[in-house]
């Protein structure tokens, strides 16, 4: 049978490509500004996030941790003027973090507010990490560490990659009141257990009760318990609060190896909350074509029901780096595959990586990326904006190393905030202006449409 596939068409004001933290944050900022928005693109690396939202934890090339990220930003502005975090006003950055974390909080994942200093947070290896905002389910960990409170880290039979003895072995020297315990997860008797399965099980009250009993049994004199991040996928705040109520103990989560529960939480929350706020969401599909004409932009993609075409007046490119496909490393060059935008990059492949993997200075490849102007518009080969309708956000932007500077969420939120601001100025300024209310009634692409 030979079927002619008719693309399903959507029209919107702003199309966001990429559903990592940057794409999600851009969509949040856009709906809060009453811009009709469609979000499409690969799921990105959001499932690999820890749940911590970093702003700036290290300055590239310097081994010591950054405890005051705002002071760190001043330093960055002076020493790396092209760094995306050096190009945003501090007030905007704070506003962006607050707006994004408020949205997450309203969906059931409350976050600490961005403070004046970094939070010293825990990792599954028992090392420490500087971050700006931590979810409520993890907040008691940094507090207990700061107070050196008596605390028991609990792990589970059959859960590999998370060892409470490892945390204690590496942190105990600085935290004498820290102890390790192991328990069995309720109703998962023998064999391997998986964080996501445990998390979903804990959404059931009876499982929480049995876990609470087990936790009380190993707490000893400690009033604080640390667990791997397994406290529910949806509304973890409720699971967490209920477990604290049942045990009478303070409880916190430590991120686990990816793909981890906190990443799944963020993705599922945003995929549910954004359509409710009017965003047209086409999840988990790669945009294969993007073109501009006098009236707007056209995005082509497809899902299992056939081709989809989105018409938009403005586009935010938030496709990420290699992991999410926003950049591609070919043997002879780094390329941006969707529009073939010029990519600032090291001279040749021999220069991509330093000799030593864990070299504290980081690798030149990670500073590769696209160039943007002050209005967040990607630049073409002639050094001019590639289109007045195109804006960029996230770690696809050059002159940063989000891994080594522990600034992934910071760059995503900052650049999304700026890109949406610029897109809004463009949409309101261009002929026709912004529609008074979102014109879309379709919110999620459903089968068969």
């Amino acid at each position: 049978m030979n079927m002619i596939e008719q693309p399903r068409n959507f029209t919107t004001e702003l199309a966001v490509i990429g559903s990592g933290i940057a794409g999600f944050a851009a969509s949040v900022f856009a709906v809060n500004r009453k811009i009709a928005t469609a979000l499409a693109g690969n799921s990105g690396a959001v499932a690999y996030t820890t749940g911590y939202l970093d702003l700036l934890g290290r300055l590239d090339g310097i081994a010591t941790a950054v405890t005051d990220p705002w002071e760190g930003l001043l330093h960055l502005r002076q020493t790396q003027p092209k760094h995306p975090l050096g190009r945003i006003a501090v007030a905007d950055l704070r506003a962006g973090f607050d707006e994004f974390t408020s949205f997450l909080g309203s969906g059931g994942i409350a976050y600490s507010r961005a403070g004046d200093r970094n939070v010293t947070a825990l990792t599954p290896a028992g090392t420490l990490k500087q971050t700006l905002c931590v979810p409520a389910t993890m907040a008691a960990g940094p507090r207990a560490f700061a107070a050196r409170a008596a605390c028991v880290i609990v792990d589970f039979e059959g859960l590999k990659g998370f060892s409470s003895r490892e945390v204690v072995a590496n942190l105990g020297g600085r935290w004498p009141g820290l102890a390790a315990q192991r328990i069995g997860f309720p109703d998962m008797a023998r064999g391997e257990v998986y964080p996501e399965v445990m998390a979903r099980a804990l959404e059931v009250p009876a499982t929480r009760e049995r876990l609470a009993t087990a936790l009380q049994g190993v707490a000893g004199p400690a009033r604080v318990i640390g667990l791997p991040a397994i406290l529910g996928v949806h509304r973890p705040d409720r699971v967490h609060a209920d477990l604290e109520r049942l045990t009478g103990l303070e409880i916190f989560e430590i991120p686990t190896m990816p793909p981890s529960v906190p990443g799944v939480r963020l993705r599922e929350l945003l995929e549910q909350a954004l359509p409710k706020r009017g965003v047209t969401l086409i999840p988990q599909q790669k945009v294969t074509g993007l073109g501009f004409d006098g009236d707007g932009a056209t995005l082509d993609l497809r899902d299992s029901y056939g081709p989809i075409r989105i018409r938009a007046r403005a586009v935010i490119l938030a496709t990420g780096r290699f992991l999410s496909g926003g950049l591609e490393a070919h043997p002879d060059r780094i390329a941006e595959p969707l529009l073939d935008l010029p990519v600032t990059q090291p001279a040749g492949r021999a220069d991509w990586y330093r000799e030593r993997y864990t070299d504290v200075r980081g690798h030149p490849l990670h500073r590769a990326g696209i160039e943007v102007d002050a209005e967040s518009r990607p630049l073409g080969r002639d050094g001019r904006p590639c289109s007045e309708r195109l804006f960029a956000a996230g770690v696809i932007v050059a002159h940063q190393d989000w891994i080594r500077s522990r600034s992934g969420a910071g760059i995503a939120i900052a650049t999304a905030y700026q890109a949406v601001g610029a897109a809004e100025r463009y949409l309101r300024g261009s002929s026709g202006g912004l529609a008074a209310t979102p014109s879309l009634n379709r919110q999620v692409v459903v089968p068969g449409e």
């Binding site: 990792t123 590999k160 020297g173 023998r190 990816p258 591609e328 000799e355 030593r356 993997y357 864990t358």
Partner: protein, 536 residues
């Protein structure tokens, strides 16, 4: 779980060890000499600056030559290869996969070479079946459609790590001979034309160690010239040829595939377990200790390999590595590829030493023969008249190499059928019980402080597509869990393991490997902070 632990050093080690023979260099030849001597009742100590197969022994294709590669350049070497190939297939079948090999020519290759080839093989006694192009492509569907000639020869593949581990274990069990890794030779004490002792140190802790021996064997491979000079011998004359190889993520062929033309870049693809190895470039170098693949070498291998197997052009590569091949100084006018692949045994009598010898050159396929010749000389000097038996005694090795063999760990795990025995390395299916066993009784190591790197050498940990980035974390966690690590040593070992794996990944990070690396780095550095261990 064993009682050894990295922060509980064993009772102060004696600073002087005694043996009949000191062997320097833990490649296949050195381990082969150790076993050969043990079978003659002679005790030895084998030392290596790093660990088993750290040089050319571990940095090659794992090809067990039929000899066909050498028929046009070195008939004698070809015959030696043919004989050793047949012998090892019989005596060490657990280390060998009898894949068979093809020699293929494509459009544009010199037809004269292909015309001569079967006759040259016959002269060396090597079986060579001429195939039609259709037959060859039926055997190996990935072969180019521009194929013009094909021959089949008895090439095979061999696991040098398994060989070395089995040699060491057999020697240890036979007469208590010792192997010490990370033991670096500093100098010799020479009195009256005899080496009395070797002054060494632990390469990591710098703890000194003296080894007294009646005979000393230099099996240092590419480093043999440097070692000989420490003994004041100027008669070891080597050329250094750097070879670069790539590890392809997939096994693309069942046979070894060679280019039917004079030896050159990218002329061989060797299947091994679930992967394939593509090589080899050859470049003359002077500096032994700083060799790394270059972009140009990698691109040349892929370009030439793709002429035989077009899919190699777009394939996923997980590693590349370079090792130095020691070549005997030839007549001076031949190219490195034509230089003798034969070996040399020097007794150093002309240098005024009566108890020192050097064995070098040669190739993986002929390691047993080289070891036998060296052991003949040493045994004779010790007055031991027993003949060598490695040509007839099978190589045991059920245990020593059981974890290095692809597919062995999952079989073991499946047989145990213990749901509590979790898989730590998911790419290669290495379970907790395998790690327990390796740590408790490290194969090929007498008293070894194990690290994640040392475990990886003795198993498939880190050899799959993720190159250890996930299982390194899981193995470390497990070793903390079982009480083996009790402080930051586990983090340092984890970092060192990732740093070491990266050396091989670095030259081939493009395509999907770039995504894999980004994820690994986000995890190792962004989350765990392994790039800042020294600082915090």
């Amino acid at each position: 779980m064993s009682t050894i632990s990295p922060e509980q050093p064993a009772p102060a080690a004696a600073t002087t060890l005694e043996t009949e023979v000191l062997i320097i260099g833990g490649g296949v030849t050195g381990t082969g000499i150790m076993r050969d001597l043990a079978l003659r009742g002679i005790h030895s100590i084998l030392i290596d600056k790093i660990d088993l197969c750290a040089g050319a022994s571990g940095g090659n294709h794992g090809l067990l030559h039929s000899g066909a590669r050498y028929v046009s350049t070195d008939l004698e070497a070809a015959i030696e290869c043919r004989q050793e190939n047949e012998l090892l297939k019989r005596l060490a079948p657990h280390c060998i996969e009898a894949t068979g090999g093809l020699f293929v020519a494509v459009e544009g290759d010199d037809p004269a070479f292909a015309d001569e080839f079967p006759e040259l093989c016959r002269r060396a006694g090597i079986r060579c079946d001429e195939l039609t192009v259709a037959e060859a492509r039926k055997l190996e569907p990935h072969l180019s459609d521009r194929l013009v000639r094909a021959c089949r020869v008895p090439d095979a593949t061999v696991d040098p790590f398994h060989l070395a581990l089995a040699n060491v274990d057999h020697a240890r069990l036979t007469n208590g001979s010792l192997y010490r890794s990370h033991t670096e030779l500093l100098r010799f004490e020479i009195v009256d034309g005899e080496i009395r002792s070797a002054v060494c140190r632990d390469h990591r802790t710098l703890a000194p160690l003296t080894i007294r021996a009646r005979q000393v064997v230099n099996a240092g491979g590419a480093w043999a010239m440097n070692i000989a000079r420490l003994a004041g011998c100027a008669d070891v004359d080597l050329l250094y040829a750097k070879g670069t190889l790539l590890v392809n993520h997939d096994r693309m062929t069942r046979h070894v595939v060679n280019r039917l033309r004079p030896p050159g870049d990218g002329d061989i693809l060797v299947p091994g377990g679930t992967v394939s190895i593509l090589g080899t470039t050859s470049t003359r170098i002077q500096d032994l200790d700083h060799v790394a693949p270059t972009v140009d070498e990698i691109d040349r291998n892929i370009r030439e390999g793709a002429a035989m197997i077009p899919a190699l052009a777009g394939a996923r590569y997980t590693r590349a590595f370079s090792r130095v091949r020691p070549l005997l100084q030839g007549t001076g006018n031949a190219s490195d590829r034509a230089a003798s692949r034969g070996f040399a045994l020097l007794d150093h009598r002309s240098q005024g030493l009566a108890n020192f010898c050097t064995i070098t050159g040669g190739k993986l396929t002929t390691f047993r023969l080289m070891a036998e010749k060296a052991a003949d000389l040493v045994a004779g000097r010790l007055g031991n008249r027993q003949a060598g038996t490695t040509a007839t005694v099978p190589l045991p090795g059920d245990d020593a190499g059981r974890w290095t063999e692809p597919g062995a760990a999952p079989k073991h795990w499946y047989k145990l059928n213990d749901p509590g025995d979790m898989i730590l390395c998911e790419c290669e299916m290495v379970p907790q019980s395998a790690i327990d066993e390796i740590v408790a009784t490290p194969p090929g190591a007498e008293r070894e402080v194990m690290s994640i790197e040392a475990i990886s050498l003795r198993s498939r940990v880190g050899k799959g597509p993720c190159q250890g980035s996930f299982c390194g974390i899981r193995v470390a966690s497990y070793l903390y869990d079982s009480g083996y690590y009790r402080d930051a040593a586990g983090l340092v070992h984890m970092r060192d393991f990732f740093d070491e794996r990266f050396k091989g990944q670095r030259p081939v990070i493009w395509g999907r490997q770039a995504a894999q690396m980004e994820l690994a780095e986000a995890l190792h550095c962004g989350l765990l902070g392994l790039d800042a261990l020294d600082a915090d």
